[in-house]
Amino acid sequence: MPNMKPDKTPMPAQDPIVRSGNFEEVEYGYTHEMALEEAQRCLQCKHAPCMTGCPVHVQIPNFIKCIIDGDMDLAYDTIRQTSSLPAVCGRVCPQERQCEKICVRGIKHEAVGIGRLERYVADWKMKNGSLEIKKAEPNGHKVAILGAGPAGLTCAGDLCAKGYDVTIYEALHTAGGVLMYGIPEFRLPKEIVQKEIDGLRESGVKIETNMVIGRVLSIDELFEMGFEAVFIGTGAGLPRFMNIPGEGLSGVYSANEFLTRINLMKAYLHDYDTPINRPKCVAVIGGGNVAMDAARSAKRLGAEKVYIVYRRSEAEMPARLEEIHHAKEEGIIFQLLHNPVAIHGDEEGHVTAIECVKMELGEPDESGRRSPIAVEGSNFNLEVDTVIMAIGNSPNPLICQTTDGLEDRRGCIVVDDHMKTSREGVYAGGDTVTGAATVILAMGAGKDAAAAIDEYINSK
């Protein structure tokens, strides 16, 4: 008999006041008893609608059944069959918009906590699992992957499992991409990301860091080096600014810079050399996950007041529900229906205030969301010493600029349904194709590209 409790089994978490002063993970994860209780809420639907909501098609009812049966190794293997990074997805996927959105239990009550269960299985494996790495029989074909983020890692993992000789080229000194530089420690511990990457390395994936492809080697040179196919997963690494006065002041950060200083360069730890200004009052512009991450990181650096300034209302916010909920719990102040028009500074060029205008919601725009309209004469100043722009990123143009014959549309690399670009043997996926999106969508793209590359090389 399934457990018919209407709500998800609660996830234990650090107290909001305590956690807003540290960078440790917010949620502790389920105990075995909690996981079992939650697993029993799954109806084991034969048609498994949840799976259709998952970009990498994790066999959700099957792995949940394994938890109930107490076969944790099999539960992990079931997830791992289609997902290269289970511990990551369990933590950062927007489940409420994917698998859990179409969970049958969610029609009347709360959906099954699929993400929480996935995390539990992945964490169990890291703690208790045996480290038997199954190495595939080498097939003698070489593939190069550009970028060691979610798309590249997934593509590499899938190809490696098929026996390909895979090399990932990463521009930064650490593999992981946005999982390392973008998503904060308190939401996705870097140790966990590192373990997932180490696992891929042990399975045979080679990772060359400090290699900025486009500058140090071109895609043409990679082919000359004997690679038969190239996958571009270089992400959306070009921060957008608003083009309002004052964006050049000291104290104005892109979210990428602010988060990179903290996450990748560990500026929050005193024994690391990268500097960061510890802010008192902060305005974060934007309403996505990155905005929540930046706001909550600022709070943890000791900021007394942190504002989220968003031009629409909460209903239109693109952030995961859980992130918004956590941010509120931690005392982040939501200035909704507000839009910045200028940033003001002192004589030395430091930020002193952000000038905002109030907004009203009008008719729905092309995205289907009601478009915000400025209320004339409603300008006012919010006193802050730091402004963080979290209004999105464009794809990094380096590869397009340095590769002949690679078609792009407004900077996004153009691909067909099989992730194939306009250049033979060159595939692309993730944010560099779609513009800034989610970890799991990038993983889905990496997965599709791996299948397409396999087919391409086999058909040669």
Binding site: T209, V212, R215, N256, M265, D273, P275
Partner: protein, 282 residues
């Protein structure tokens, strides 16, 4: 890891290092830069490529010992290795098609101005090299600069080499004497580059400067190195580091470069204390 194959002190505060980095050496061009990280807890700092040897697979960097990271770098010796060394980054300088150029270097900036002079000289451009230092003891690369130019004008702030004055005095004097430059390349501290640009704007001479902004990744990802050029936001790491000096908002750039001055000073002081403690304990 990137091995240091040669280390030379150019003056008490400037060091030259030749680093084994074959991939970078193969692609490097004048005007491009590298980013390095000395150790696991270190920051990433950009340094312009001073020279390269494609055959030997080496890249030369010249740095001024000013902060903690450059102090740590200077602790390394021949045979030691730098943890991370990334490049070549940024766009190469566009120097083609000029008849008579003045290459102006200020202090440590001469280390970067010199390869520009060398590149121009090799293209057949007539090069006047104007180099400024605080005093005669700090003069670096004198022979190299002489070899890469028709005339070398060495200026010192205190006149200790017999030529008292700023680089702008020498440049203005040449212009007043009827030298007609079609290009000025100015590299050095921001106030010096601004002074050169003020002068050349009046004289109507195209001027290229090289920005030394604060950076993290150097690939356009963080946006930290942004500056305003002709009213538009540009990133020094991918749009530069060379820019038309007449269009750069120097006021803003100077303020932005001071963002972490306090932390930088504290870190350097603390590191110096630790170094001396180490000496005492030894």
């Amino acid at each position: 890891m990137f091995q240091i194959v040669e280390k030379r002190s150019l003056n008490p505060s400037m060091t030259l290092m030749v680093v084994k980095a074959p991939y970078i050496a193969k692609k490097a061009k004048a005007g491009q830069f590298i980013i390095l990280r000395v150790n696991e807890k270190g920051e990433r700092i950009p340094l312009t490529i001073a020279d390269y040897d494609r055959e030997a697979g080496t890249v030369t960097i010249i740095f001024q010992i000013v902060g903690k990271t450059t102090m740590m770098l200077n602790q390394l010796n021949k045979g030691d290795a730098i943890l991370d060394f990334i490049g070549p980054l940024g766009k190469a300088s566009e120097l083609e098609g000029h008849k008579h150029a003045a290459v102006v270097g200020g202090g440590a900036g001469c280390a970067i101005a010199y390869p520009q002079a060398k590149a121009l000289h090799a293209m057949g451009t007539t090069v006047d090299m104007i180099a400024g230092f605080r005093n005669t003891d700090l003069i670096i690369l004198e022979e190299e600069m002489k070899a890469a130019s028709e005339h070398l004008y060495l200026m010192t702030d205190d006149g200790s080499n017999g030529h008292k004055g700023f680089v702008t005095n020498a440049l203005q004097a040449n212009i007043d004497n009827g030298v007609s430059y079609d290009l000025v390349v100015a590299i050095g501290p921001l106030p010096m580059m601004r002074a050169v640009c003020d002068l050349t704007k009046k004289a109507g001479i195209k001027t290229i400067i090289s920005m030394n902004s604060i950076m993290i990744d150097g690939t356009g990802m963080c946006g930290c190195c942004r500056l305003t050029v002709d009213g538009k936001t540009k990133f020094a790491c991918v749009d530069g580091p060379d820019f038309d000096g007449h269009l750069v908002d120097f006021d803003e750039a100077i303020k932005r470069n001071a963002t972490y001055r306090k932390q930088e000073r504290e870190a350097a002081e603390e590191y110096k204390c630790r170094l001396f403690e180490g000496v005492d304990n030894a």
